[in-house]
Symmetry: D2
Subunit: 142 residues, 4 copies
């Protein structure tokens, strides 16, 4: 198990988001940075790179959005819910794009199969945060 929840609990702030949910989302985002970065690199080395262009492009976008999301979620003190809301929305969307394209290649490429699963876990973790009470006030802005 990671230390993410434990260090979040050590930050002196009145968290509006539940640290357990935030920790799960951070860890899911960081896993996604890893697998998407490797999947895009693996795509470049495949014989059928021609078929994997979209996959590589989407995985790179997903890695960068997940990276920023993990970083902002890792800063509970002086955080801003609206920034995080928009970033989580961008993150879910980027992960959906990546998962969808990886799914098309999952039977032929093991890296795509793994990456799809990790992206789906990230979607779930971010969606859980977005559906939490903390974002209720923005319900009409989503």
């Amino acid at each position: 198990m990671s230390d993410t929840k434990e260090i979040l609990d050590a930050v002196r702030t009145r968290a509006s988001l539940a640290t357990a949910d935030v920790a799960t989302a951070i860890d899911a985002c960081l896993r996604c940075v890893q697998t998407c970065t490797t999947c895009a690199n693996a795509d470049l080395a495949e014989e059928d790179v021609d078929e994997l262009r979209v996959c590589a492009a989407r995985c790179l976008n997903c890695a960068d959005v997940c990276d920023a999301t993990a970083r902002l979620l890792s800063r509970p003190a002086y955080s801003d819910k609206l920034t995080i809301l928009r970033l989580l929305e961008a993150c879910v969307r980027a992960c959906e794009n990546s998962a969808e394209e990886c799914a098309r290649h999952a039977r032929h490429h093991r890296h795509c199969a793994i990456c799809e699963q990790v992206c789906r876990a990230c979607i779930q973790a971010c969606a859980a945060l977005l559906d939490s009470e903390a974002f209720e006030e923005f319900q009409d802005r989503r």
Copy 2:
């Protein structure tokens, strides 16, 4: 002048966003990564660091969101407008938070004055993109 527009024009894709506007936004985001990173570092070294906590925290968030935004905007091929829309919204918001807090310290700290201006230029460049025709289809989702 930067090469940003020129290299964007060299990408083989049917850009839905005008490359001149995208180039302006990318360059504004990268400038913001720079000044926000330095402003947060400068805050830590000030005698009144106590007063600059919020400034440092907001600048760090701003730098990370601007970094991801610059990266996604730099990938016109196989891009996804909805991901970019949410990211631009996150970026504008993060820049507003940073600009607002820097403004409070601008008279006492030169780094805050510079950072405020750069954040405001970034808000303007991102808002111009968001207001462009390319995002018209999402008008009701904003």
Copy 3:
């Protein structure tokens, strides 16, 4: 357990570095990005922020170097050993700086205690890679 080793093994390349060691280093780097980012944020929110300036500054540097290191290690195909060697050296050094400063505050601040441990684990994982046979050819350049 993470999927890191499994996805690395799925990349079509003659890895010169053992994927098990690389996976350990990647995961350690990503953990370090997380804890260092949160530790710097937590520092800003402490009453004795005045004492924690150096800690925040060093943790921010450590997070950025670990991020880049995790990304490059996640791209085994078409990788360059000398770039990775220098990056691993930068990473070990940045983690040492961060661990050393966190250690000074570990008794008073739980986030520093956690961060110190995670930095030390990262040093160990990167040092193990640096000491591996793969980097033997650069022995005289270190």
Copy 4:
């Protein structure tokens, strides 16, 4: 002209590196993040993507190392010369790899021609820093 030097000069620290040289290196690194990110994306959209695999892979590594280098150079307060030395060395090497491969495609692809030039400017800016008096003490460790 960018604000980089001006904001660096506003940081309360005894800079061991000349801010003019640091500012030049930061701006060169950020330009390199931009062009390398776009070049890798453009590679994926070319008919001869098969020939451009190495170019895309190297450009992605270059972008990430340049990003981290720009960030650490942007933090003059509480900085550590040895970390920066190793990072600059990694940066020069990553830029060389990228420039060399882009050069092979520069006649056929405008994005590679631009990217090569920007990488070479970054090599020059980082090498100038490495050759400066500030790193003299490490002369025997290079």
